[in-house]
């Protein structure tokens, strides 16, 4: 399927690599392979891992890539795998200029994978790991039947987005175990709450009313009940990593547990890429553009380069192109730190002409971007480096929809733009759903909570996802959320769906129980 890099491309690669190193990029050994479009589509359909486990959705992705390519709608430009060594694929039909751009771009990604903090915990032998997953899934399919395994995988994949992408970054985080003592102990305790409410011993009986006022006793009793309620609860704190929770606690056979583990491991592996899409694509684009225009480009390639580069950056007004936004932000940061446009003095300056021509010749641009690429992800990146000037100059806006459903520019206000952008990036645009109680109603039912932050869940999908959850948990499933502004609990009992008014702390936002995000 693959061939060794032909001599001409090998020469080009050697030169591009030397330039990338000269600019200070730092990457693991990177292997390029040349594939024809069909083979490239196959690799891409498997998310870059041709040895991945068999599943129809990879077939679907392949069909879409193949057809949209045949119709001239898209062309995969580059494909690079976060692994050590790094692997990258080149499309055979690309011209020499394109191959140069792709190689330069790939070294940008490889540097980012290696140095960005968020990629730190990712498995660097993922190619082997994926092959291992593939073998396990095939073995289960042979042993338990392909369809059975596929059905379970489909259910697991419905929950793929319910992992805690931040989890790998707090290795010390205490694991939440089962509460000590079984449910029976708690029942006993509940019965004895009445006796155990603390009282001050009163001498004469008539003093009792004053030393232990009934309201105070009642408050104490309620506090103890609440406390008991929390202790009865399992997990003791809401659990963001729903997949792991199910893996450890659902009534499953070992092969099913392992499939959940596989789906979870792969989701966590891909999470940093989603978390740094704008930064990572922007970084690679910044470097292909720098390497090409300052080093690699020969005169006769200029137009081809301009054509390819501008199509990478093409964006329609209603849709943000991460390549474009990322590149512009990186350039803006480099420029600001080159000219000293940061810090107190600059931010205090309100004179427009002075700001515009501000240049203290600090020359720190390059150093700054290398520093930023280490420690940020898209959320913190936008939060820190999206400036009011940038939003104005790059013509960013917030759109909404009018009655006919057409997009309308709603605001060009800096704060609004930033807020909307951050909203869409938080949790990669997924709702935050966590396990609140796995012994709901003291009947082993599963209670999840959707932390409502302004957007409702899509109802039909939520119901179907609950059915998948039920097939794994095998007890009724409840999801506390908000629907059209009101707290609701969606229930699936195994045969039918219903929904009831939410009471108390289950009700979505603003709840105090463990709501603090790390």
């Amino acid at each position: 399927m693959t061939v060794a890099l032909p001599a001409d491309l090998r020469r080009i690669r050697d030169r591009i690599r030397a330039w990338a190193e000269e600019f200070g990029l730092d990457f693991p050994e990177t292997f390029f392979e040349v594939l024809d479009h069909d083979a490239l589509h196959e690799v891409a359909a498997y998310g870059g891992f041709p040895t991945r486990y068999p599943h129809w959705r990879f077939g679907m992705q392949y069909e879409q890539l193949r057809k949209t390519y045949a119709y001239g709608l898209q062309k995969i430009y580059e494909l690079v795998i976060n692994n050590d060594p790094c692997y990258a694929y080149l499309m055979r039909s690309n011209g020499t200029t394109d191959q140069k751009i792709v190689m330069a771009h790939v070294y940008g990604h490889a540097d980012f994978f290696k140095n960005n903090l968020w990629f730190g915990p990712t498995h660097r032998k993922m190619i082997d790991q994926m092959a291992n997953h593939g073998t396990r899934v095939r073995r289960y399919a042979d042993r338990w039947g392909a369809e059975k395994v596929e059905r379970f995988l489909d259910d697991a994949l419905c929950l793929e987005n319910l992992v805690d992408a931040h989890e790998p970054y707090r290795p010390g985080a205490a694991r939440k175990g089962a509460p000590d003592g079984g449910a029976d102990d708690l029942d006993e305790e509940e019965r004895r709450i009445g006796e155990k409410v603390p009282r001050l011993r009163a001498g004469p009986e008539y003093m009792d009313r004053y030393l232990n006022p009934p309201e105070e006793l009642e408050r104490a009793r309620r506090r103890m009940e609440r406390d008991l309620e929390t202790r009865r609860r399992f997990p003791a704190k809401p659990e963001r990593d729903v997949l792991r929770f199910l893996m450890e606690n659902a009534p499953l056979s070992s092969w099913q547990r392992d499939l959940l583990a596989i789906v979870r491991a792969e989701a966590l592996y891909f999470a940093p890429q989603a978390m740094t899409k704008i930064m990572n694509e922007g970084w690679a684009t910044y470097w292909h553009s720098t390497i090409m225009t300052e080093r690699a480009l020969s005169d006769d390639e200029l137009l081809d380069y301009a054509d390819a580069h501008s199509s990478t950056l093409a964006s329609s007004p209603g849709r943000l192109n991460p390549y474009k936004l990322g590149l512009e932000l990186w350039r803006d940061i480099a420029d600001r730190w080159d000219r000293g446009r940061f810090g107190t003095e600059y931010s205090r300056c309100t004179d427009w002409t002075q700001r515009r021509s501000w240049d203290t010749r600090t020359g720190l641009g390059r150093a700054k971007i290398f520093e930023v690429r280490k420690a940020y992800n898209d959320v913190t990146f936008i939060d820190e480096f999206l400036t009011e000037d940038f939003v104005r100059e790059k013509r960013l806006f917030v759109y909404g929809r009018n009655a006919e459903g057409a997009k309308v520019i709603e605001s060009r206000d800096f704060a609004k733009v930033k807020e909307t952008l951050l909203r869409d990036l938080t949790n990669f645009g997924n709702p935050v759903v966590e396990v609140l109680d796995a012994n709901h109603r003291n009947r082993g039912e599963l209670l999840l909570r959707h932390r409502w932050e302004g957007l409702d869940l899509r109802g039909d999908y939520a119901r179907d996802t609950m059915e998948a959850l039920h097939r794994i948990w095998r007890r009724p499933v409840h999801v506390a959320t908000k629907v059209e502004g009101r707290g609701r609990i969606l229930v699936f009992d195994g045969t039918r769906h219903s929904s009831e008014e939410a009471r108390g702390e289950e009700g979505g936002e603003g709840s105090s129980v463990g709501a603090g995000d790390p």
């Binding site: 196959e42 041709p50 599943h55 129809w56 959705r57 990879f58 077939g59 679907m60 392949y62 069909e63 879409q64 949209t68 045949a70 119709y71 709608l73 596929e150 059905r151 489909d154 994949l157 419905c158 929950l159 793929e160 987005n161 137009l303 964006s315 329609s316 007004p317 209603g318 943000l320 192109n321 936004l325 790059k394 013509r395 960013l396 806006f397 917030v398 759109y399 909404g400 929809r401 006919e404 057409a406 997009k407 309308v408 520019i409 709603e410 060009r412 733009v417 909307t420 997924n430 709702p431 759903v433 959707h450 957007l455 409702d456 869940l457 899509r458 999908y461 939520a462 119901r463 996802t465």
Partner: protein, 371 residues
């Protein structure tokens, strides 16, 4: 030797599995997540959009459209975001997402031909009539802007600027002038022209329901697309019949709903008259297609049909195609009779179309002979 067997690619298995799910052959519960089941999307001017099937597994999500987001570009607050499709465009409703591709009709024909492995048609009749075909093979100094050759134009401009001494390597701005512009240009080639006449006949009696007509519509569209890619000049006629036949325009053909009995011979009669009057087999390649649910008035009428076919129609046509669409009421007898009587005649092609999935195999039957 084992080596000669092409290595099965791993992806083929997954693709096969996906296709079977989409077609509803396995895992029927997943079918509801298939974002489309249509063979044919919207037909626009010279293009058609084909939805690509997609299965989206459910998950906790906000849905596709959050109503708001961040964009980049010009425009004042309150103004529509530039570059959107026209209002009321399909695909906007309920945030449904269908991946659509737009292809031109000739491309579509090519895809269809590939998909069904259709042979190119070898036309009958006169090939003496020559027609002109444009082939873009050269460059000119004048032409429409749509044909401007970007690279050549810049190259000419650069050459001129260097010659004039206005090119500054430090500030490499190249500005093409009017005289620098280069355009793609064509040569005219002569190719033999061939003509085709397509006559669609459809039973519109009471038993043909909306779904049956939709199937006929889709199949006719694809047949049309293919034949147009094979002939330079094509004429299409439409005949509907219940107990009597008449010629109608395209729109009525697909939308008319009659009731009452069915006399197929009436349609064949009208068809042969049209062919006789207008389409001499010396000049024209003639393709009658007939679609019905297989019910006919009487055995006597069916016999009349066979006679008409044998004596009047078949001698004049390339092929005669009969597609039997399954309906709740149709007996399906006509295809049986037709196969019995004329099944040995290579010019008579019949197929059964039980549902939409049957459309492509039926087209393959009709057009697969290369006649």
């Amino acid at each position: 030797m084992a080596r000669e067997v092409p290595v099965a690619r791993r992806i083929d298995q997954d693709v096969g599995r996906f296709r079977r799910i989409v077609r509803g052959q396995v895992r029927k519960n997943l079918r509801k997540y298939v974002t489309q089941g249509e063979l044919l999307g919207r037909v626009g001017k010279g293009t058609v959009s084909i939805p690509l099937p997609e299965i989206r597994l459910p998950r906790f999500t906000f849905g596709d459209d959050r109503g708001s987001g961040v964009g980049m570009g010009e425009g004042g607050e309150g103004e529509p975001v530039p570059g959107q499709g026209g209002a009321g465009e399909a695909g906007e409703e309920a945030g449904e997402h269908v991946l659509e591709v737009e292809v031109s009709l000739p491309e579509l024909a090519e895809l269809l031909g590939e998909e069904l492995r259709l042979p190119a048609i070898r036309p009958r009749g006169r090939e003496a009539v020559l027609s002109d075909v444009r082939r873009y093979r050269s460059i000119r100094r004048t032409g429409p802007e749509s044909l401007r050759h970007f690279r050549r134009t810049f190259r000419t401009a650069l050459r001129r600027q260097i010659a004039e001494g206005t090119y500054e390597p430090d500030r490499p701005v190249v500005v093409p002038r009017r005289e620098d512009r280069r355009y793609r240009s064509w040569r005219i080639a002569e190719v033999p022209q061939s003509n085709a006449a397509v006559i669609y006949m459809m039973d519109v009696s009471g038993s043909m329901g909306t779904e049956q007509k939709e199937i006929v519509r889709i199949e006719a569209f694809w047949i049309d697309t293919w034949l147009r890619s094979q002939y330079r000049n094509i004429e299409v006629r439409y005949i509907v019949h219940d107990a009597a036949a008449r010629e109608v325009d395209r729109h009525s053909f697909f939308h008319l709903r009659e009731s009452g009995g069915t006399k197929i011979s009436s349609a064949y009669e009208l068809c042969s008259r049209i062919v006789e009057e207008r389409y001499s087999p010396m000049e024209w390649n003639v393709y009658p297609f007939h679609f019905s649910d297989g019910d006919n008035w009487s055995g006597g009428d069916t016999r009349t049909c066979m006679e008409l076919l044998r004596e009047k129609l078949l001698p004049r046509v390339n092929v005669f195609c009969y597609g039997q669409v399954k309906s709740a009421y149709g007996s399906g007898q006509f295809k049986v009779d037709l196969d019995d009587e004329l099944g040995d005649d290579g010019r008579v092609l019949t197929s059964e179309i039980p549902d939409r999935e049957g459309i492509l195999p039926s087209i393959r039957t009709f057009l697969g002979t290369g006649r």
